[in-house]
Structure formats: C-alpha cells, structure tokens
Symmetry: C2
Subunit: 408 residues, 2 copies
Amino acid sequence: MQKNLVVGQSGGPSVAINASLAGVIRAALDSGKIDTVYGMRNGVEGLLTEDLISLNYLNRPQFLAHLKATPAMALGSCRYKLPETDQEGYFRRIVEILHKYNIGYFLYIGGNDSMDTVKKLSAYCTEHGHDIMVMGVPKTIDNDLMHTDHTPGFGSAAKYLAVTVDELIMDTDIYFLQSVTIVEVMGRNAGWLTLASALPRFLGKERPQIICLPEQPFDEEDFLQQIHTAFQKSQCVLAVVSEGIRDKNGDYVGASFQNGVTDQFGHAYLQGVGKYLETLVRERIGCKVRSIEVNLMQRCAIHLASRTDLDEAYEVGRRAVQFALEGVTGKTVVYRRVSNRPYRIDYDAVDVERIANREKKVPEKWLDFDDPATIREILDYLLPLIQGDVPQVTDAFGLPSHLVIPKE
Amino acid sequence: MQKNLVVGQSGGPSVAINASLAGVIRAALDSGKIDTVYGMRNGVEGLLTEDLISLNYLNRPQFLAHLKATPAMALGSCRYKLPETDQEGYFRRIVEILHKYNIGYFLYIGGNDSMDTVKKLSAYCTEHGHDIMVMGVPKTIDNDLMHTDHTPGFGSAAKYLAVTVDELIMDTDIYFLQSVTIVEVMGRNAGWLTLASALPRFLGKERPQIICLPEQPFDEEDFLQQIHTAFQKSQCVLAVVSEGIRDKNGDYVGASFQNGVTDQFGHAYLQGVGKYLETLVRERIGCKVRSIEVNLMQRCAIHLASRTDLDEAYEVGRRAVQFALEGVTGKTVVYRRVSNRPYRIDYDAVDVERIANREKKVPEKWLDFDDPATIREILDYLLPLIQGDVPQVTDAFGLPSHLVIPKE
C-alpha cells in the first residue's frame, strides 16, 4: 500500500514559504509513490488535533502558480516547541495520528526553531523503529541558518529592502536642509537583511552612509560622530539599522531608555531602536530626523518578490520530497553555491541537528564597508539572490489575488 | 523672439510629480513656441537665487520614460510661502529674474500650499502688466484638492496601500491566536488614503474591520468596542487609521498622552497615533497587538505605481503648457470625470484661488462602510485610479534605476 505525506509550516512568515509548499505538493503527487498530501493547519499544533486537509486538489499548474504568488503561510503557523522527552506523550500521540492517516513522510517548512521539531521527531521515530521519514524544508527571511549558502525567503526580503531604501533615498533628498533618516530593519541577532538594505551604497550611491549590524557593538557617540562626518559631504544622511543592535555590554540599544519611558499613568512604553535613535539625534544634533520601521512589509511584499528566491524555494520543497522518498530522515535541504558567474546552486541535505537552534551571522571579514574587495564579495553573494520578478495573479479589479486554502 | 518656460516642484513628494515634469518638458519643446525649459531647483527658493538649469536635454523618449519612472522630485522641493504683499520685494525680484531669462511661462507643480504661490505670483504679474503666464500643475497623494475629481499621485499611493494592506492581511492571520493590527496611514485632515487602504474590505474581504478617518470624530471606547465585536467573528482584527484622527474636542488622538510621555531625563517623546492605539489596546484588551506606520513608502513606492495615475500626471503637465501657451494664467489644471465605464476623464483649468489653501474631504455620505450602495460608489470612484502597472527602468544589477538631474 502506498503511503501518504503530511506537510506543515511553522515559525514566522515570508513570501517564499508557499512556493516550497507548492514544490512539495507537486513532487509528492508526481512521484507516483504518494496517494495523499495532507496539510497540517498551524503546524504540529494542528497535527495534534488532527486538523489535516488533503491538498491534492492544488496539484494543477494554475493553483500551484497562485500558491507560489501568495505571501505568508497558506496552512497557518505555530510557535510550538516539542518537549525534550516523551514524558507527556506528545511524540507517541503524533506517531499515532501519522499511523492513522497512513503517513510515511513528515515535511516541516520552517526556520531554526522549527528544525528543532524535525530533529526531535525524527530522532523519536528512528529510536522507536517507526518507518516515517522526517525532513526539514528551510525558510527564514533572516538568512541565519547554518550550513546553507542562503535561505528561502531571504532573497525576496533583501530585494524589497534594496528597492525600498533606494526609493527612500529619492524621497528624503528633496529639501534644501540637513536631515537624518533612520531605517530599522528586521534581524535580532544577524545583520543579513540590514546588509541587503545597504545595497544602493554597495552599488555606488552615497547613501546609506551608516550601516549598523548586530554583529558589531553599537556605540551612541560613534553613531552621532558618523552623522557629523556624513554631513560634511551631504545634507542627507541615511542610516540602516538592525532591530537587534546592542551596546558593548550586550544590552539592546535603547533598552534602558525604554525602561524609563512611561506615560502619565506609569504605563511602560515599548518602542523600536529606530525610534530611540530618532529621539537621540533630535536631542543631540537637532536637525530634521525621521525613523522608518520597514515592519511586516519586508517579509510579506510578494509583489516585489525575487523570482530566483521563489524558484529556489519551490525546488527546495521538491528536493525535500525526493530525499524523503529515498529514505532520508532527520535532515534538512540546503543550498550549496556552485558558481557566481553564471550563478548556480546545488541542493543537498544535512543533519538537522547541525542547523536546529543555531544562527549564522554576517562574517566578520564583511564588516568593513569601505573596503572595495569586501564590497565585491558582498555583491557577488547578494545580487544573484534578488534577480527576477514574479508574475502576480490579479483579480477582476486589477489587484493581486492570493490563494486561500478554505478552513473547512 | 520666442519665450522660455520655467518649471518647479514644491511641497511633499509623490511618485507622479516627475511624470508631470516629463509632460511639461515634452509639450513645451514640441510646441515649437518655447526655446528653453528651465527647471528651478527647490522651487521658488532656487528661482530667487537663479538656481536654474536647462532641461532641454531630457526631451528624448528614453529620458522622459526614465523621469516618469523616478519617484519624488527630480528638481528638489521647498516649503516656501510667498508673502502677502511685495513690501520685501520678493515678487519684483522673481519677475526680474524671469525677464532676465526671457521667461514667459511659469509652471508650478504642487499641492494646495504651492497653489498659493501660483495665486500670488499670477495676481502680481497681471496687476503689474507683466506678460508672464503662471499656471499650477496639481499634485498630492492626499487627494484633498478642491474642484478636481482626484489628484495626480493619489492613485499610486492608493494602489500601494490597497496592495500592502492585502499583503498584511495574509501575514497577520497565520497563528492560532487573537491579534490586533493597526495600520497608520497618511492624511492629517482628509481620509482619502485610509479609504483606499480599506479597498480589500470593500472588495469583499473581512478585513480591515475598522476604518478610522479624520472626517469622523474618534472615540476610544467605541474603538475598543469595535475590536471586541470584530473578535466575535474573527481572531484577527485589522484597523486602518488616518494619522490625523481627532477626538470630539478636535484634539489629535493621543496628543494629551504624548504630552505626558517623557524619558527619565524629562525629554518630550513623539509618537504617531498608531503607536498610541497599540498601547491602548495592549493596556485595555491585552491581546497581541502591533502597529504599522506605512510611513514614506506610501508616497515613494514607484515600483507599485498606478499606470493610470502616471499617465494622467504626464498629461496634466502637457495640458498646463497648452493652457499657458493659449494665454491662460492664474489657473490650475484639474480632472473632470466623464464616465466610469469606460473610465474617462477630461482636463480643465480652474482659477487657482478656488483651490489654494483649501481642502477636499471624504464626503459624509461615504462614511457608512456597511452600506452596499456606498461601497459601490467608493469602488466606482477608487478602482479606475489604481489600474495598470508602470514598467520599471532597471540597471545592470537588476534593480530599479532612477533618473537624477545633475546638480551642477
């Protein structure tokens, strides 16, 4: 009897996760070795309540293309962490459900936290002799997974940031007056997205003059000095700043300030680092200053997705199925870069325990943004990832249409 | 002897202003009646210092297309208000410079404040018998100009907001938990852009459930009640909110709160209404809540411009030249809608004093968002304005390229 496959999505959204889902559906059903592709709603949370839906109806070119052009997660997500042991019976329960639905392949699309689920479940199945292949399909806009050249979702977010910062460069340089613009970019611990937002400068523009990554300790006086220096050449200063920058003691920048900020009722008040630095510049330099949080747009702007990214994300889903069908388990698919000119990658599978709960940072040798050799390396790395546009599926009103998997 | 023409840009940027500039250049130089099109840098501020540049070199199809695909203001901007009388000699000085450069036509691309410059300068020229035609070319993303169906720049910002809110709808509904997302949209006094950001709902989606325009007094308890009501049907609540909403006393929402917010050093702390409402929801409802300021992206995202908007903005520039050449002065070009199906507009010129320093608000009859007839009217009005994509000019690296007019 043929087996079935179950696939879930977990962690934070991006524009590439549904492309991987499309690749999984296509490869599974075209293999001739799988009867039904089940989707679990809200990741393992839905699996535990048997909230499963057959996705076989999606295996048509127009549906798969529509799914690929849909941001976020068509199956919903969760932030569920499986326990370390099976004392509470979660693993046994999962395996019971997988058996009940005759599922031999468990695919999980997620970031480093979700790979923890793949690691634990695959270990449990192997240990207990369950014939279930458990494979990870990577995704994260943060690009912080180990042992892969880059991650699905990163290229599109990088493209959004490069294009948006370039547009902001045009918008903020129109008045005859000194101004500072601070763009706050996602990335708690790794500065990949902030690096991408500096692409206009790496490609020869003057701005952003200031680039602050979490990989470098942040110093307020040095930041203010960089602004003064930049003002000597230009009336418009642009700084791109990771949300996760920290001072030399390892504290998030502005954290102590935030703790002191309360309204008249004494309520604590939360803000991002961009707003904090805006206040700092206003107080200490006094020029026109504005902070911009690129917020969720950097991870859901499918209209500006990188075709390279979405094509690769689709392929990563296909490869995960192929590995699982070959009997591979406890691994996740990764990209290996073969060459830059022409850009070419290969796909491989690595042990998920080498990836789960770890983070890849921007290498230290790439932090000298004034070194032409460094810039060439960064460009060689980043530019191929943001190439190509993705055709949008539009509705009768001329607006983008997104595929919704019905909840019933 | 033939005359020359001078054109300037003033006020806040949008993605359509350079399209109008392209239309001006083309129409002027193709008329055979104008020798040189001068651009003034930073509006009348640059004119007063004779910071003029010949734009004739731009009159080639590829340059004009590139200019049209460039956001913000290629000539720079100013927020300069001419005095009420010529006591200080500003008008005399302007006219001297215009005579010196043999300029017979003065075109000014701007919003309601900039039209004040057109009004005063045209009145001065007429009164003193100077043969200089002064014409306004409208622009503002806010859509708040009187006596025109809509404004150049609005359609593109509207499209950006509709598409972005639709993407945010996908991004924010992935977890199995109640959440509130508040999107803060530009518009100090008129709610046109917030209306556009609600397009996904008007087109049949559940969200945004809450729409707050400056045209309606805002009540915090009512806002919280709307969230509770929305939670009865959906776990995800989305609110689109104009930056300029006010309470029943006419005070900006959150203003009193803001005045009370200081850091530990007693520094005043500024925030937008979205952040304020986020704090309110966190304190009073306690669910997951996030605020998103769409910030400058809504006015500079040329990659998502409306082709209709940019084509019309180009034509408005052309028409302004034609009117000026016909001896019209002290007027601004406006759109008159001829029909919705097919969508068709005409161009006309109205006295600038009927437009300067005034604001057009969303009509009261459009504020009942539960009335199907109202929704149909809103859709008939908005949808034609956001149609069509604009081909981007890309550079050798696959990123959008913008035209820069050299400063020297």
